[in-house]
């Protein structure tokens, strides 16, 4: 069974050569999104290379979550081009289900509120989509789920229901659930915001390990130490635009715009 030989969560496959070229793996071009008259994203451009970790920071309401949700089309943008690997979707043309599936199959997502399925055991939370989406047998899916639970330190919770787990545990389970589908990129939307600091740390350490293993990640976060030390690039958003973008240290220690300086000062004072 080839599944048993696979290193869980690492992305190897036919698209590996892409990393060798200079082409970004995730590319957002002129993403625009509005709710009615309210424009939430204006012409946002961003790209992330394979294996890169991008942190998106910025004040509340600046459109960070919306941007992240545009990448996997949970929130379809009104305009712009989303490219992930070999899948390109243009915002103005109707999107086929096939393209959507192809896009989402490359993207794992972790939410601020975990969104585990409360009526299913931890194990079933992780095996369900493997069976339904990837067509794995339940034995294969369970094997992979147990490997991932071990990886996030929760093998002993397999038979529990999510409600019996702490927030930090639930979020690690949610990470395992996403990883089980072999995503090429992981999207995180403030994964630790709903957690008290201690529980946040256990989630951050899983994310750090994931980054080290070479996973491509886009992380909306308020954790400045993660942005500075784990991510290689940082984007600061405000009012639906990218204010600043660049290597983490440079952006965080030496922001160019007054707005970015103001935001970073506010964050540091907390």
């Amino acid at each position: 069974m080839p599944q048993q030989l696979r290193v869980v969560g690492q992305h190897v496959g036919k698209e590996a050569p892409l990393a060798l070229t200079n082409k970004p793996y995730v590319k957002l071009e002129q993403i625009t999104k509005s709710y009615g008259a309210h424009t939430v994203l204006r012409d946002v451009n961003l790209s992330v290379h394979s294996g890169g970790v991008l942190a998106i920071i910025g004040p509340s309401g600046s459109g960070k979550s919306t941007l992240l949700r545009c990448i996997n089309y949970i929130e379809p943008p009104n305009k712009g081009i989303v490219t992930v690997g070999d899948v390109t979707i243009e915002g103005e043309t109707p999107v086929s289900r096939r393209d959507l599936r192809a896009l989402r199959s490359k993207l794992g997502m972790v939410f601020q509120s975990f969104n585990l399925f409360p009526h299913l055991t931890v194990l079933r939370n992780i095996t369900l989509a493997q069976e339904r989406v990837l067509g794995r047998t339940s034995a294969e899916a369970e094997l992979i789920a147990m490997q991932l639970l071990t990886r996030v330190g929760l093998a002993d919770k397999a038979a529990q229901y999510p409600s019996r787990c702490s927030g930090g545990q639930q979020q690690r389970i949610a990470i395992a659930r996403a990883l089980a589908l072999d995503p090429k990129v992981m999207l995180f939307d403030e994964p630790t915001s709903a957690l008290d600091p201690e529980l946040g740390l256990e989630v951050l350490s899983v994310m750090r390990e994931l980054a080290t293993s070479g996973m491509t990640m886009i992380v909306v976060t308020h954790e400045m130490s993660f942005a500075e030390n784990v991510s290689d690039h940082v984007a600061i958003m405000a009012d639906g635009c990218i204010l600043e973008y660049g290597p983490s240290r440079e952006v965080i220690r030496n922001p160019q715009s007054a707005r970015a300086r103001q935001f970073l000062r506010a964050v540091n004072e907390r």
């Binding site: 599936r101 969104n115 009526h119 369900l128 989509a129 989406v133 409600s163």
Partner: protein
């Protein structure tokens, strides 16, 4: 007295039968009606809403008359029991559809988003993620409705189904002891509702303990 009780109790199987079957029809048919009510296509939604409104706008008693005396005396004749089951079953279906819908609305949108992000697709999302939670939320109101429906089966007596209220009416005509007879009938309805309430509470507690958020 015991003799009278025995006569009344001859209606008990009928009451249980009508309640159980029309509830079953309701629980099953309510599901597609709820799906139609929430369908993406506007015509399907409008037809479903019209159907629900129509069924609910006319009193249950009048529906039984329409079905039994109206439809039933036409081309195809119908036993009183069949007419009662069709009428109460349809009424139960529209009520169950609304109860399911209440359960559906209560589900956090994050559940859909997570399913979407996992690429589960519409059918699997509904079957594996949404519907189980919907039924779970709908359980207490379904049980309350089941008790209401059980009491409503008394109207089947008007088209001649020999259930509890029918037996009570017949016995009253013979004995002229209405208070006593219908007192016993009322008591039986109360006793019938107890196990339903108890079962639903047990099921609710069990599920709550299992998946409490």
């Amino acid at each position: 007295m015991l003799y009278q009780l025995g006569l009344i109790l001859r209606g008990l199987p009928w009451t249980i039968l009508i309640t159980a079957v029309s509830l079953l029809i309701g629980c099953i048919l309510g599901y597609p009606i709820m799906l139609g009510r929430n369908a993406r296509s506007l015509p399907v939604r409008l037809v479903s809403i019209a159907f629900i409104s129509l069924i609910r706008a006319v009193p249950p008693l009048v529906w039984l008359f329409i079905i039994f005396f109206g439809v039933g005396t036409g081309a195809f004749s119908m036993s009183p029991l069949t007419a009662a089951l069709i009428g109460l079953g349809l009424i139960a279906a529209t009520n169950m559809a609304e109860i399911y819908r209440g359960g559906l609305i209560s589900i956090h949108h994050g559940q859909w988003e997570a399913a979407q992000a996992l690429n589960l697709g519409g059918a699997h999302t509904f079957r594996d993620v949404i519907a189980p939670q919907m039924f779970r939320v709908a359980l207490p109101s379904s049980a309350t409705y089941a008790i209401g429906l059980m009491k409503d089966t008394a109207i089947a007596s008007t088209i001649g189904v020999p259930e509890l209220a029918y037996q009570g009416a017949r016995l009253t005509q013979e004995t002229f002891q209405g208070l006593k007879v219908f007192g016993m009938v009322g008591l039986i309805y109360i006793l019938l509702s107890l196990p339903i309430a108890w079962l639903s509470r047990r099921a609710d507690l069990y599920l709550r303990a299992k998946v409490a958020r």
